[in-house]
Chain length 396, copies 2
C-alpha cells in the first residue's frame, strides 16, 4: 500500500495540514511500532512504551519552547472548548488555595473564541466579567482590532482577578495579539491564562510570562483530540492546597476529575486513557520542528509567509479588502474578502483548480481565510500569492 502523496496546499483553519513525513511515519507506527508487532494505538497507556511517548512529548515540547523549570507540561483530551471549559474552575480553586477567597475571572474579548470562553465561564456560573470587548473600541463595532493598552489598563488596577484570559490568536477573525499586555505581564498578582490553539509553535515566546498556556493540537501540533497545557507549578500547588469546604461554601463548581489539573499531572497525563497514537503524532511533529531548526527557524518562515501574502493582498486595495487592523493581523489566519463578492465562487473554483484548497472563510464571517500554519511551506504560500495576484489582475 502506498503512503506517497503530492505535497498538499491546504489552507484550512484546522484540523490542518500536517507534514507529510510525520504522517508517513505515524501510519507505519499505527500498524507496527518499533517492531513490537503491535501498533502504538494498541498498547496500554501505562505501558513502558506509552510512558516513553508521553515523556518524549513533554521533553521535546520543553526543548522547542524553552520552557522554564517553573512550568509543568501536561496533556488532556479535548480541544479548545474543553480547554476553556475546565480552566476556570481549576484557576478559581488555585486562587482560593493561595488567598483563601474567591477572585474574579477576567476575559479580554477580541474575537469569537475569547467570547465563547467568557460565555462558558458565565454558563458555568463562575464569577466572570469581560475586562474589555474590542468591539467597544472599534469604529465599526466589529472584531478586527485590539485597543491600545492605555485604553483599558485602568480597568484591571486594584481588581482581584483569579486570572485574566485571552486568546492569543483569534482563528475565526484573524486577529492576533502583537504582544502580551504589559499591564498583566508585569503584575505579579495576576495570572495570565492564554489560549494558544492556533499560534502555538508559530514563533518564539517567553513562556515565563504566562500562568497557563492551553492549546488544542489540531493546527500546528497534530491531530484533533488532545490539548497541550503549560502551567506554572505554583498554580498547581495552589489548586491542590485549596480547602474543599471553603470551595463548597464559596460555591465554586468542582472540576470533572479527568480535567482536574493536579490529578492529571500526578498521573503523568494518563489518568483518563490518553490517546497515545494522537500523542505520538504530536511528538513526531515536535521532533520534525526541532530537526528543521526549532522555533527560530519556524519564526522566520512564518513571518515570511505572512508578509508575502499580506503584501500581495494589500497591493490590490480596490480588489481585496482586509478587515483586520494592521497592528494585530494574524500571521496564522489571513482573513480577506473580495470587494466584488460576486466573484467569490469563481475565486474558490480557480484556486481549487490549482490545488489551493481550504480557503473559504468561517461561516460567521464570510469571505476567505488562508491559514498559514507551520506545515505550509514558503513555496506553497508563494503559489497562493501568485494565484491571488493573477486573479486580481484578471478580474480587476
Amino acid at each position: 500500500m502506498s503512503l506517497e502523496r503530492e505535497e498538499p496546499s491546504h489552507f484550512g483553519a484546522g484540523p490542518a495540514q500536517l507534514p507529510t513525513c510525520v504522517l508517513q511515519q505515524a501510519a507505519k507506527d499505527l500498524v507496527n511500532y518499533k517492531n513490537l508487532g503491535l501498533g502504538i494505538g494498541e498498547i496500554s497507556h501505562r505501558s513502558k512504551d506509552a510512558t516513553q511517548v508521553i515523556e518524549d512529548g513533554k521533553r521535546h515540547l520543553r526543548e522547542l519552547m524553552d520552557i522554564p523549570d517553573t512550568h509543568e507540561v501536561f496533556f488532556m483530551q479535548g480541544g479548545g472548548t474543553t480547554g476553556f471549559s475546565s480552566l476556570g474552575t481549576n484557576l478559581l480553586r488555585g486562587y482560593v488555595g493561595k488567598t483563601g477567597r474567591v477572585g474574579t475571572c477576567g476575559y479580554l474579548v477580541t474575537g469569537s473564541w475569547s467570547e465563547k470562553a467568557f460565555e462558558e465561564a458565565q454558563r458555568l456560573r463562575l464569577p466572570a466579567e469581560v475586562v474589555f470587548d474590542s468591539r467597544e473600541f472599534d469604529t465599526e463595532k466589529k472584531f478586527g482590532s485590539i485597543p491600545e493598552e492605555s485604553q483599558w489598563s485602568a480597568r484591571v488596577q486594584g481588581k482581584k482577578y483569579a486570572y485574566v484570559y485571552l486568546c492569543e490568536n483569534e482563528t475565526v477573525h484573524g486577529v492576533e495579539w502583537p504582544q502580551l499586555p504589559r499591564c498583566l505581564v508585569e503584575d505579579d498578582d495576576v495570572e495570565l491564562v492564554a489560549d494558544l490553539s492556533s499560534d502555538i509553535l508559530s514563533r518564539e515566546i517567553d513562556v515565563s510570562q504566562y500562568g497557563v498556556i492551553m492549546a488544542g493540537a489540531q493546527k500546528n501540533i497534530g491531530l484533533a483530540g488532545l490539548t497541550v497545557y503549560i502551567i506554572k507549578k505554583s498554580i498547581l500547588k495552589n489548586i491542590a492546597a485549596a480547602d474543599e469546604e471553603i470551595l463548597n461554601e464559596l460555591g465554586i463548581p468542582v472540576t470533572p476529575i479527568a480535567f482536574d489539573y493536579p490529578t492529571v499531572v500526578k498521573n503523568n497525563s494518563a489518568y483518563n486513557t490518553i490517546p497515545i497514537f494522537t500523542l505520538h503524532v504530536m511528538d513526531l511533529v515536535f521532533q520534525h520542528l526541532l530537526k528543521k531548526g526549532g522555533l527560530p527557524q519556524q519564526t522566520i518562515e512564518n513571518k515570511q509567509k505572512a508578509k508575502l501574502l499580506y503584501e500581495a493582498l494589500d497591493a490590490y486595495p480596490e480588489f481585496y479588502r482586509l478587515p483586520v487592523a494592521k497592528n494585530c493581523r494574524s500571521s496564522m489566519n489571513v482573513v480577506f474578502t473580495l470587494v466584488d463578492s460576486s466573484l467569490d465562487d469563481q475565486f474558490l473554483k480557480d484556486a481549487a483548480a490549482q490545488r489551493l484548497t481550504g480557503l473559504k472563510g468561517h461561516r460567521s464571517v464570510g469571505g476567505f481565510r488562508a491559514s498559514l500554519y507551520n506545515a505550509l511551506t514558503v513555496a506553497t504560500v508563494e503559489r497562493l500569492v501568485q494565484f491571488v495576484k493573477a486573479f486580481a489582475e484578471e478580474h480587476k
Copy 2:
C-alpha cells in the same frame, strides 16, 4: 514503507489490539483519504467528507446493534472517566425536565469502574447513593460476584431515581452482568444508564432496555480518544426542557458545554472539534464487523473463545485459581491467578516467548488477565489455551 505485520496475539485490557486490515486502511487514509491528496485527520470537522464519516459511523453502529428509532447515537471526546463524569449532570437535568424535581443517582457497584463512577458523582456533589456494593454480599468481601436480584431489588422500590448506573463488564475485576436486572428494565420510571466500555459489540443486546449506553472506544471499537453514546431521545428532550432557574435553585451543577448532550447532538457530534481520524478508525471497525457477519457471528466467536479459556483454566483447579463467580465471569476479561505465585514471572516470560502478551493482571488485583476482545481470533485464543495447559502440565 511496509504496512505488513504478523497477526498479533496481545491480550491487553485496553487500549486493545485492533484488526490488522482496519489499521492498514486507516494508515493509508491518514496520509491520503479517498485520493483527496490530504489525510482524513487534516480536513475540517465540518467538511463534507468529515460529516460523511460521522454519518457513516452512526449508520453502521445502528445497523450493527440494531438500534431502534427511539434512541439517538452520538460521539464525544474522552474515555470512560470523561463519560461517567459528565453523565450525572446530564441525567439529573433530564429528570428535572421531566418531573420538575431532583432525583437520586443510584449506583450498582460491582467492581472498580462502577465504584469510580459513584465516587465521581459524590465528588461532583450530586445526590448520589450506592444501591448495593457487591462486596457486602460476597463471602470474602471482595469484588468477584453479583448478588441475586432478590437480595437487593427491594432497595429500589419507591425510590425517585434520576437514573441507575451500572458497569456491564468490570474490566479490572473480570465481572460481567449476565443480564440486565429485571427490576430496573421493567420499571418505566427508572432510566438504566450503563457503561459498556469493555463489552460493547461483544454480543447482541436489546438496546431498547437502556436509557443511556456509554462506551469508550479503546477496547472493541477503536483507538482511545472517543466515547460512543446511545441515548433515548426522550431523555434528550427532557434535558433540553429543564428550567435553568430550577436547576440553579436545586444546586445541580452545569455540565461543561462540550459534554452537554443536547448541544453535542444538535451539532452532530462536532461541537467540540471531533477527532475525525479516530472516528474513521471506529467506522472501519464497524464495517469490518458487519462484513464478517455482524454481532450474531461475533457473539458465537466470543462465546467460544471464553468457553475455551475458562475450561482450560478450570481443568487445573490445583494450579489456576479463578476469583470470579461462575455466573458473572466476564467473556471479555478472563481474570486468574496461579496458586503458586512464585511462578508468576515464569508464566509471563514463557508466554511472551510465544508472542502471547498483555497478560499481566491489573496492578490493583495482581495475577493475570486475558482480554478476549473482538480482534482476538478464535485461533489466537486457542494458542493461549494450549500455552495455559502446557504450562500447568509442566509445573503442576
